[in-house]
């Protein structure tokens, strides 16, 4: 007799737990611009940001906003891939989890095409003249603003001061890729245990991103004006030849090893992002803008360095949209941007990057400012993630010698054409 109630109770318990699990997603707060609840409890906001100095500099500025608006902000710091996946997975919910998100420019086309981001212009946000115009290029679609450039990330050329002097150069004299090649070759010739130049390995995106400035300097690009792939071209091959020449007097490492190697005097030069290393006046290393000329006799190009600006946006399904706009305006304000420098932040504002008192302590920001003014973004195509996986892998095959350049680039061209045709 006791068996039946027991079985029923167990079945009921299962049904109740499953129902409870199923209903948990529907209890999210609906959008509201009010700060705090009626009971005085702080409003809960959630931010999904890029880990490292990019997100941490923003996180450090939040306490004042939390206090002023009676909000409690939770910050999630993610890796590059996890950030992309995290924002995308949340985008399909009616009411999302995140109020503010950090976005890489290369995801912009994919996100705007699928309505992931809120239209900031409609929410009343606009750029002021202090923000470096080149950094906002990726933030605008059809004259509407979707993102704001928060962290001025742009590739720069890191060098070891001593090895550069040993090669007979001063930083000001490096104005072409031929100079970079010369320094790298001289460093290796002087001491075979030293690296002339280091390239970044680890993922297809790393490999391709670091190569793009070299490709631009050779007059090439990965797509034409109609977004047709252009990788099996003489320009691409010439750039790759020069890149291999640099690799042959150096090697490939991940970012931590690259910075450690240049600062320890094992390597003369490497391309880095400002967030990886903050130079000091008496430090062993510093950085310069990436040269805009191929050779000393070439005409300088307008833009060569790769823009990797970390932008901030508001998901279209953000739970507290109006409050999120206030937060976005707050972190983009000149005062907060200026203060972020203390936390390894790199603002995208002229006023911050040219402030004499700031430059006294952080002279490298002048270099960053110059690079931000002339940087070039990755192509804005929705298929960029797949594009970079295919091309980066084939470039890795060339660098590692597992395929010839002709084989790899012809295969990449074929695969990319198929991808873009879909």
């Amino acid at each position: 007799m006791k068996k039946r109630p027991l079985a029923l109770a167990l079945a009921l318990a299962t049904a109740v737990s499953l129902t409870a699990c199923g209903s948990s997603g529907g209890t999210s707060e609906t959008g509201s611009g009010d700060s705090g609840s009626a009971s005085g409890e702080p409003t809960k906001m959630t931010l999904i940001l890029r880990g490292g100095a990019y997100g941490e500099s923003l996180e450090a500025s939040l306490p004042a906003f939390e206090e002023e608006h009676n909000v409690d902000i939770e910050v999630m710091l993610m890796s590059f891939d996890d950030l992309h996946t995290g924002i995308a997975l949340d985008a399909v919910n009616d009411v999302g989890t995140y109020d503010l998100c950090m976005v890489d420019g290369s995801w912009m086309a994919e996100f705007t095409e699928n309505g992931v981001l809120a239209n900031l212009s409609e929410l009343g946000y606009s750029f002021d003249n202090d923000i470096i115009p080149a950094t906002t290029e990726i933030c605008i679609v059809d004259d509407e603003i979707y993102l704001a450039p928060y962290y001025g990330n742009v590739t720069v050329m890191m060098y070891n001061k001593q090895l550069l002097a040993d090669a007979g150069y001063t930083p000001e004299e490096i104005d072409s890729f031929a100079d970079v090649q010369d320094i790298a070759q001289k460093t290796r010739a002087a001491d075979p245990s030293k690296n002339g130049f280091l390239i970044r390995g680890g993922s297809a995106d790393n490999i391709l991103s670091d190569f793009l400035p070299h490709l631009v300097a050779h007059g090439g690009w990965v797509v034409d004006e109609n977004n047709n792939p252009t990788v099996d071209t003489p320009e691409f091959k010439a750039a790759m030849e020069d890149y291999l020449a640099l690799y042959n007097v150096g090697g490939t490492l991940d970012k931590d090893d690259i910075v450690a190697s240049v600062t320890s005097g094992e390597t003369a030069m490497a391309q880095i992002w400002p967030g990886w290393y903050t130079p000091t006046a008496d430090g062993p290393a510093d950085y310069i803008t990436i040269p805009t000329k191929l050779t000393d006799d070439s005409e300088p190009l307008d833009a060569v360095a790769l823009q990797g600006v970390w932008c901030i946006g508001i998901p279209d399904n953000a739970p507290h949209k109006e409050l999120a706009v206030e937060l976005l305006e707050y972190v983009m304000s000149p005062e907060v941007q200026l203060a972020s420098i203390e936390n390894d932040g790199v603002p995208c504002r002229y006023s911050c990057l040219t402030d004499p008192t700031v430059l006294e302590t952080y002279p490298h920001l002048e270099t960053v400012c110059g690079a931000l003014k002339t940087g070039v973004y990755r192509p804005a195509i929705a298929e960029w993630t797949e594009f970079t996986n295919i091309l980066g892998t084939e470039m890795d095959n060339i660098i590692q010698g597992t395929k010839t350049m002709d084989e790899a680039l012809s295969y990449a061209q074929e695969q990319l054409e198929q991808l873009m045709a879909v």
Binding site: R4, A7, A88, S203, A204, S264, T385, Q400, T402
Partner: protein, 298 residues
């Protein structure tokens, strides 16, 4: 009277059957929700061009297109080959070292508990922690291992970025972490082998090797098969270490099926294509598992 008894008996049998069914229901429901539902949807999605951001409502059926692209994809072929090779090598090495250590610890007169605890430590660590620790130790720039090799005057390597070393380095790390699991299972099995069998073998003049071959191995055969099965399934799904340490590079030499699915399915949000890969992987694991299960059943 007899008819009444039969009716009562039938009633009791029906009650027992109902009770059994009732007891099974919670498990069945959970299994259906947690296993069958995702599996069916993965299978369904594998025949579509479902992209997560575009939404399921905009997906259309493409029949076997995903499977065709998968099998024609050079990177997938390389990932399958890497996974199979890695699984075979890792399972053989883990089983070999695990068995050796288990026999050794089992033969110790003292200190078995201490040895058992110490040997288990690598297995208790999360895979990501293990990967990051090894990455620091094997750093080409400041890693202790390269510094030690330099000190001995031996050549140093760029362990994770060189096509000649990356695969083998991850293999060593995986074996290092998972040998304790094999050890623990086999050690437990060895503990249950009766000492009298060894005594009888010794009386019959069996040496150490003969005792191992004719007493130890037959007694732990079932555990060996189970261990190999579990390790094969687990190694086939290798992901964290590859993702953290090499991302499948250099030149795809460490790319595994799961890493491929992550890069080309999950990262690019092409869940239709990713689902096709997941189904292929499930089938491969099932084939491997059935082979071992058959062997274990004798």
């Amino acid at each position: 009277m007899k008819r009444n008894k039969t009716v009562k008996l039938r009633g009791a049998q029906t009650g027992t059957a109902r009770f059994g069914l009732g007891m099974l229901m919670p498990t069945m429901i959970l299994l259906l929700v947690m296993t069958a539902y995702p599996l069916i949807f993965t299978l369904l999605y594998s025949f579509t061009d479902y992209n997560y951001l575009r939404g399921a409502e905009n997906a259309s059926f493409v029949l076997f297109d995903n499977y065709l692209s998968l099998f024609q994809n050079g990177y997938f072929q390389q990932a399958v080959w890497n996974t199979v090779l890695f699984t075979i090598l890792a399972v053989v090495l883990e089983m070999g070292f695990g068995l050796l250590i288990a026999v050794f610890v089992n033969s110790l007169k003292r200190g078995q508990k201490v040895m058992r605890t110490l040997l288990l430590l690598p297995y208790l660590l999360p895979a990501v922690t293990v990967a990051l620790s090894w990455r620091m130790m094997l750093s080409a720039n400041y890693g202790i291992i390269n510094q030690f090799l330099e000190f001995l005057g031996l050549p140093v390597f760029n362990w994770f970025m060189d096509t000649h070393t990356a695969f083998w380095t991850i293999l060593v790390i995986d074996v290092w972490q998972n040998v304790p699991f094999v050890f623990l299972l086999l050690y437990a099995s060895l503990q249950s082998v009766s000492e009298s069998q060894y005594e009888a073998a010794r009386i019959d003049g069996a040496g150490v090797l003969q005792q191992f071959l004719y007493v130890t191995l037959p007694n732990i055969k079932g555990s060996l098969a189970l261990c190999a099965l579990l390790r094969t399934i687990d190694t086939f799904r290798l992901f964290e270490k590859v993702n953290v340490l090499t991302g499948g590079g250099p030149a795809g030499t460490t790319s595994t099926i799961t890493q491929f699915l992550y890069t080309y399915g999950i990262e690019s949000l092409n869940f239709g294509f990713g689902s096709a890969g997941a189904i292929v992987m499930t089938v491969l694991v099932l084939i491997l598992s059935s082979f071992y299960i058959k062997r274990a059943m004798g």
